[in-house]
Amino acid sequence: MTTTSTTIPSAPVARSTPRGSLGQRLSPRILPAFTALAILYLMIPIIVMIVFSFNRPEGKFNYVWNEFSLSGWLHPFDWPGLGDAVRTSLLIAVLSTIVATIMGTMLGLALTRYQFRGRGALNGIIF
């Protein structure tokens, strides 16, 4: 900052020119680097999960790396009841999405398009 104040007068043009200090030169890189680290933080557990999907666990728990194996991917439905559980999950997800969309649309329409007694209070309660 000290170099800029001596070389460039405080004219409007000065602000658009790059400044000399180290901080000013680094600052365009800091935010993207920080964001990349934060995204890495978010991705790490997923990466671990993918890596450990190729593990052949020694016991019941898949917590310690043992040896490479494709069995988890080759026989995904070996666990008894897993296929049924997946089917149930899908069914419930589809049904609840349909019901929530219909009810939510109706509530949303009523709250934004119509005047009725208790509209403000209802708005407050729902949000």
Binding site: R15, T35, M103
Partner: protein, 298 residues
């Protein structure tokens, strides 16, 4: 706010007019009925349990006793404090990590904007539980991070562990709720008219001043929404404490889960839930007052 319209009401009296008057109520009915059955009734039921005495086997009778509340407050003060402390620290951390990320996506994202946003919500594509278990693997005493530091590099003593400490627990909570902070912050920052910041620049504000007096105040609704979305579920979270913490770092969510689902002690479990709910309501009210509600709801 959208301007309320009454298109059907103008049709005048008669069947269509009456239908028009009833229409908003007809539209509301299913949703409100749903909320009443699945939200209001259970809440009333919980409240009745909290002032009852008895057991699952012999049934409960409403005795208007406050025993459950006194027991909840006397026995579990530490867990309430843990919840406030860990939930609070995690919320501050998500804000400190989330703000620069949201700022980068909103103002520097460029053509990568959608990709980064996708990566932020990508964790939701897998289960909360599995992601937390992944952290358990990673932070384990002989896990991929600590084992090399201990044995290969010898930087840490063999007894060193992260798992089971408040640090692992707070890191897990921060991790799990980070997207809930980033998304509302991004929405608030994205809405900021870039010309306002240029105007501050034109009026001889330096970057720091423009940020402090233009960007930050306009981002406050996002900060408010994000910290509520983080703090409220973080307070009640019990998965992170269960998997990454230790008995000493248990939070109030663990106690509620234990009382209701393991010990079948419905009165104390319900009383704990109500105390937690009341505490959160008070905290939110105070927080809204501090940040200035008019700005946020307007």
């Amino acid at each position: 706010m959208t301007v309320p319209l009454q298109p059907v009401a103008r049709a005048g009296p008669g069947l269509r007019g009456r239908l028009g008057k009833a229409l908003p109520y007809l539209l509301l009915a299913p949703g409100l009925l749903w909320l009443a059955v699945f939200y209001v009734l259970p809440a009333i039921q919980m409240f009745t349990y909290s002032i009852s005495t008895g057991s699952v086997e012999n049934g409960y009778t409403i005795t208007m006793s406050a025993d459950a509340y006194t027991e909840a407050l006397n026995k579990f003060g530490k867990q309430f404090l843990n919840s406030i402390l860990y939930g609070g620290v995690a919320t501050v951390l998500t804000l400190l990590i989330g703000f620069p990320v949201a700022y980068t996506i909103a103002f520097r994202g460029g053509r990568y904007k959608n990709l980064i946003l996708f990566l932020v919500i990508a964790p939701f594509f897998t289960s909360f539980l599995i992601r937390t278990i992944s952290w358990k693997i990673l932070l384990g005493d002989e896990g991929p991070i600590l084992a090399p530091l201990k044995h290969t590099l010898g930087l840490l003593p063999g007894t060193f562990s992260i798992l089971g400490t408040p640090i692992a627990q707070v890191a897990g909570i921060t991790y799990n709720f980070l997207p809930f902070m980033i998304l509302p912050l991004y929405v608030a920052l994205e809405k900021i008219d870039i010309r306002l910041i240029e105007a501050a620049d034109d009026l001889y504000a330096n970057q720091a001043a423009a940020f402090r007096r233009v960007t930050l105040p306009l981002a406050l609704p996002g900060v408010f929404a994000g910290s509520l979305l983080t703090f409220i579920p973080a307070m009640g979270d019990y998965i992170n404490a269960e998997l990454l913490g230790s008995p000493g770092t248990r939070m109030i969510g663990n106690v509620i889960q234990n009382r209701l689902l393991v010990q079948n002690d419905y009165p104390v479990g319900s009383a704990l839930s109500f105390i937690l709910m009341a505490g959160i309501l008070v905290a939110v009210a105070v927080y809204a007052r501090l940040l200035g509600t008019e700005q946020l709801t307007g």
